[in-house]
């Protein structure tokens, strides 16, 4: 290790800009009477999602991949609208736009529809990025226009053929959602939000996670979920939150079956969360936004290292 390696990886100017945007975000929520909260980063259990890998702390539990479950318990206890600026942790995620430890801004608005939350997210993003035009796309329409297929109805073979057309693949077999995620992430995402805030809505019901379902204009069941993209970067993921404890338990159970099938460790279901849902979560919409990515875009960079004082070593 060279003697210069103690220095921060990000210019101090960017760190000042980061602090300034954080102050604006806190002022924005204070004015809107959204309460700042803090919940544990270390909890006895964690997310069951088979695509998220939590870091285990022997004897203590897991570092959280998101503060969602604890925040929902606050909502069920009557906190009203809340936000948190949380450090979260994800094992096996390292790249230009992924660090194993990052800062997430997560907030819930009681009584908000997904549309209202989208406007809220747009206002907040503009605090960092300056005034930016907003556009909305239906997930289904993006696939129809860019790839000429209906992601909710086409066959797996059609998805595979589309992926092969655009991407040099090292694999042949994948499930429906994997093909959809591949096409979304590698073909569609890079073209989204070039000079706009692009909100994608109406996700396939299989990608609902903790969102409710509704019927789209064509009578197809879709997830009440949105994602925000700016300059090809995924910035935020929001839900009209699922309130039904039984449905939530069923989704957790499905995750655990998928984990077992993939040979991943089992995770104990977060019973306090289900108990909170049972006692009654107020109707609300919630969103998680990657703050480091927002700062990165605000300073016009394309690397998280430019806005984080000390980044983990590169895996190169």
């Amino acid at each position: 290790m060279s003697t210069e390696d103690w220095r921060p990886g990000a210019p101090l100017e960017n760190l000042r800009r980061r602090a300034q945007i954080l102050a604006r975000i806190r002022a924005y929520f204070a004015a809107a009477q959204v309460l700042e909260v803090e919940t544990p980063q270390l909890c006895p259990t964690t997310v069951t999602d088979p695509h998220l890998h939590s870091m285990q702390v022997p004897g203590h539990g897991y570092l959280q991949t998101s503060p969602e479950y604890a925040m929902k318990r606050l909502l069920a206890a009557g906190s009203g609208s809340i936000y948190q600026i949380a450090r979260v942790f994800r094992a096996d995620e390292m790249g230009r736009r992924h660090h194993p430890e990052f800062t997430m801004l997560e907030w819930y608005r009681v009584g908000f529809t997904l549309d209202q939350l989208i406007d809220d997210v747009a206002a907040l993003a503009c605090l960092a990025l300056g005034e930016t035009r907003c556009v909305r796309h239906r997930y289904r329409d993006l696939f129809r226009t860019r790839l000429g297929l209906d992601p909710l109805r086409c066959s797996i073979d059609e998805l595979r053929a589309a992926a092969r057309r655009y991407i040099d693949l090292a694999f042949d077999e994948a499930d429906r959602d994997t093909w959809l995620e591949l096409l979304m992430g590698q073909v569609i995402e890079p073209t989204l939000g070039i000079d706009t805030l692009s909100f994608v809505v109406d996700y396939p019901p299989s990608q609902a996670a903790l969102a409710r379902l509704h019927l789209d204009a064509e009578g197809q069941v879709v997830a009440s979920r949105f994602e925000l993209y700016h300059r090809g970067v995924e910035l935020a993921n929001g839900y009209h939150e699922l309130l039904d404890a039984d449905e939530q338990r069923a989704r957790f159970a499905a995750d655990l079956r998928e984990r077992a099938a993939r040979g991943l460790p089992a995770i104990a279901i977060d019973e306090p969360l289900l108990a909170a849902l049972k006692s009654g979560l107020p109707d609300c919409s919630g969103v998680a936004l990657g703050l480091d990515r927002l700062f990165m875009l605000a300073v016009g960079s394309d690397s998280l290292r430019e806005v984080i004082a000390f980044s983990p070593p590169e895996n190169r």
């Binding site: 790249g95 992924h98 991407i167 992430g185 590698q186 190169r316």
Partner: protein, 189 residues
């Protein structure tokens, strides 16, 4: 044989892909908002030298390739094959002209070079970064002109042609950078 998972892919790692040995150049982790993560991996096929970008599901793995670099002495070319020798154990290896490729333009008998072996057979040859070679053919030198620019082609003993300053004469030894194919300096002999 060992295998490596996508999160162990690092630049320089040698792996087998579709039956060919490849070297990993870059590995980019990509993940959509939710769901399956992928790795976009840039690889060089060590047989064809072609670079391609392949997308893997994160967590997939590849077998390691039995490829390693060995420093050897270049002996001679018999017309079809170049012959090399490991200096420690005097073991000899032969490589076809197509395997050696353009590296042949910089190989002088007795010089050291790097031979990449795949399953014990030469796969590629890399000359030293700097080699000293004799100028066998160039226009006569311009005496005293060491300052002004301008250059001329010079053919070297190994067959390479490089641009040299006007003052360089036939029969002189010059130092060249084999990566750029450029003249570096004259060597006092």
């Amino acid at each position: 044989m060992a295998s490596y998972s996508t999160n162990e892919f690092k630049s320089g790692l040698k792996v087998m892909l579709d039956g060919d040995p490849c070297m990993i150049l870059e590995n980019e982790f990509v993940k959509p908002g939710k769901g399956q993560a992928f790795n976009r991996v840039k690889l060089r096929n060590l047989k064809t030298n072609r670079v391609s970008e392949k997308t893997f599901k994160s967590g997939d793995s590849l077998e390691s390739a039995d490829v390693f670099d060995c420093e050897m002495q270049y002996l001679y070319n018999d017309g079809d094959f170049h012959h090399f020798m490991e200096p420690e154990n005097f073991e000899q290896h032969q490589a076809s002209n197509s395997t050696v490729g353009d590296a042949a333009l910089w190989l002088k008998e007795q010089d050291l070079c790097t031979v990449t072996l795949y399953n014990g057979t030469p796969l590629a040859v890399t000359p030293l970064n700097f080699v000293e070679l004799e100028v066998v053919e160039t226009e006569p030198g311009v005496r005293g002109d060491t300052a002004t620019g301008g250059n001329k082609p010079a053919r070297l003993s190994t067959g390479a042609t490089v641009k040299v300053p006007l003052f360089v004469n036939q029969g002189e030894i010059i130092r060249c950078d084999t990566r750029s194919g450029e003249y570096v300096s004259r060597v006092k002999g």
